[in-house]
Symmetry: C2
Subunit: 344 residues, 2 copies
DNA sequence: CGTTAGCACTCTCGATGCTCGAGTGCTAAG
DNA sequence: CTTAGCACTCGAGCATCGAGAGTGCTAACG
């Protein structure tokens, strides 16, 4: 587990991972030597490789094929990577420019973030919309559509909008609805789910029904996984050679199809601080369906105002350096945008 | 092309397609005979098969492997299918029951329709939200979020909601915004894009800005492909044996990833009458990327009120009967829901 | 004239056996 | 500690080959 590695062993592990990520084929001592300029002979490398294999960081799938990293090997490697990597500044500029152009619309940010992540990492990207950590009532609008159906439009502090159709027991005309909306707007402004619920006694049956719905919606909005998860780059998963000829891609895609799984996944990222990038390699035991997949995740936003999550799902054999720095950078940009928009 | 087929030839074509869709392997005269009870010998079937091959409805990939349908063969077969097929009534009941439970929320219909289509057809499903054929202003709400940013919530006749962030040149307080909203609501009620635009002269600079935005949004909403296309069952595409070991799936998924393509595709379905199911087999020349894929499409809704499109994208080797009847049935259900909700 | 039995022919698929190359661990010498 | 050398292992790739399935054609039959 926590075995110490010599500097040379670390370098060799890094080179093997680099090479393996690049080619997808196990590599042997001689081949490694021929491609990189290491100051030692192939026999020495063989010895080091044997040590790394004993430590559980490398493995060989058959006796006479080269070595490739184990999941544990990737983890070790990534641990060293988390602190350092950064995106080249020209790419940063390119990305931030795109975001600058789209600053008007929250949904546009989300789409853009997913698109950038998918593009850069050549894997599938997942992004949730920023979401108020504590949903606060700002405004409602009640609109008679027809008969006994009423459309409730609820605006939260920060600009999130929820809509809901309400089926009343008896028809009510628009004038009465508008009156009610005005009274509720005056009374409920700035309150949270409980605060709205406590207003019920001072309203009539109709008002009670509406208030309950608002309160429910607010408290449901408190949970992280309220909105849909925006996905992009699903096809990238298939393009990857590791997946095209195996059925691991089917697993991955099926997971990406299931909102419940994704929500569980993204909720995992709730714990660490904003801006910290998390990497989950090969399911890590807990997610059995994620064999052969890795996930790079981060939370963005501003604690106390609104947060969201974004991440990349790709093959275990992934360019971690690039992906981690992209996720970190995009999450930073999104945080800025959220602070701009939500912090009054 | 329009060659006449004898009844027996039609039957044999049907059997071959049935068998091929089931097993995925070409089938020969003897094997066909052994699995179905046809009143003739294998030699006769061979003759008929030769005729069907000459007519371009069957083909053999090598001399000594059985026959399989050509795209043209599928088309002929499907043409005969379009009129007749219907879903078993117990499945109908099951589906309609699900829809009944979800009648409150338009987005929920869309999700459900996609889920049902994906499930039943074991392929990828595409559904657009119902969409007013002519967008009519119903109501707006202007909400100051912070500084010079204003949230515009626009409700269309029928209950569709659009939101937009407006950056003003100077800060405006909520009271003035509410006043303006009230004036616009009174003046613009029931108008379309042009109608709203014609109101501009009677408002001040701020009002003008808002009215223009409303008018723009209304006219943009007139185009079909306004909303996002909801997708489901993408993983199904990969499960299919025809796709798992080929790169056709990559094509398909890449297409499903591209909104623009899908919108073009769904706009194709604008022409025919609501309820008519369209089947596009193997790209039909026009869509080159759709080799090996077929699409079953239908429009739903009510002309003059609101319409949407839904469909299924799957492998050319698809159970057309089942898929067509599912698409027809779901589109019928959606039409009913739309009529219920939109026709006042 | 449509149908059928028989036959010679074709072609794919899977199994078998082979060599070649890359890679390893070990040992002994520098 | 490093390195050269060596014996050994094992998978990928290629050629060969027989079995099985399917075809088209011809000639006989009702």
């Amino acid at each position: 587990m926590g075995t110490e590695l010599s500097e040379r062993q670390g370098m060799i592990l890094g080179l093997i991972i680099h090479e393996y990520v690049d080619t997808g084929e196990p590599i042997g001592s001689k081949a490694l030597l021929s491609r990189y300029d290491i100051g030692v002979s192939s026999a020495t490398i063989r010895n080091e490789m044997a040590a790394l294999t004993r430590a559980g960081l490398l493995r060989q799938v058959h006796t006479s094929g080269g070595r490739m990293p184990t999941e544990e090997g990737y983890r070790f490697f990534v641990r060293g990577l988390l602190g350092e990597t950064e995106l080249p500044s020209d790419e940063k500029r390119l990305i931030s420019h795109q975001f600058y152009q789209a600053r008007a619309d929250v949904d546009e940010w989300v789409r853009l973030a997913a698109s950038v992540l998918a593009q850069q990492s050549q894997a599938a990207a997942l992004v949730t919309a920023p979401h108020a950590t504590r949903a606060i009532f700002k405004h409602i609008e009640l609109i008679a559509t027809h008969g006994r159906q009423v459309l409730l439009v609820l605006v939260l502090q920060g600009g999130e909008v929820r809509q809901h159709v309400l089926s009343l027991t008896e028809p009510v005309d628009q004038v009465r609805l508008s009156e009610l909306a005005e009274r509720i707007n005056a009374a409920a402004h700035g309150r949270d789910a409980d605060g709205v619920a406590s207003l019920v006694p001072s309203f009539d049956t109709l008002g009670e029904e509406v208030l309950r719905l608002i309160s429910d919606t607010l408290s449901r909005a408190d949970a992280l996984a309220a909105g849909e998860i925006h996905r992009d780059g699903l096809a990238n998963v298939l393009e990857h050679p590791d997946f095209t000829h195996s059925d691991a891609a089917r697993h991955a895609l099926r997971l990406l199809d299931e909102q419940t799984f994704l929500q569980e996944l993204l909720s995992r990222v709730l714990t660490p601080a904003i801006g910290n990038v998390q990497v989950v390699i090969g399911g890590e035991g807990a997610w059995d369906d994620l064999r052969d997949c890795s996930i790079v995740l981060a939370r963005y936003g501003a604690d106390g105002f609104a947060t969201g999550a974004l991440g990349v799902l790709g093959p275990t054999r992934m360019a971690y350096g690039r992906t981690i720095s992209t996720v970190r950078y995009v999450s930073g940009l999104m945080s800025e945008l959220v602070v701009d928009a939500f912090a009054t």
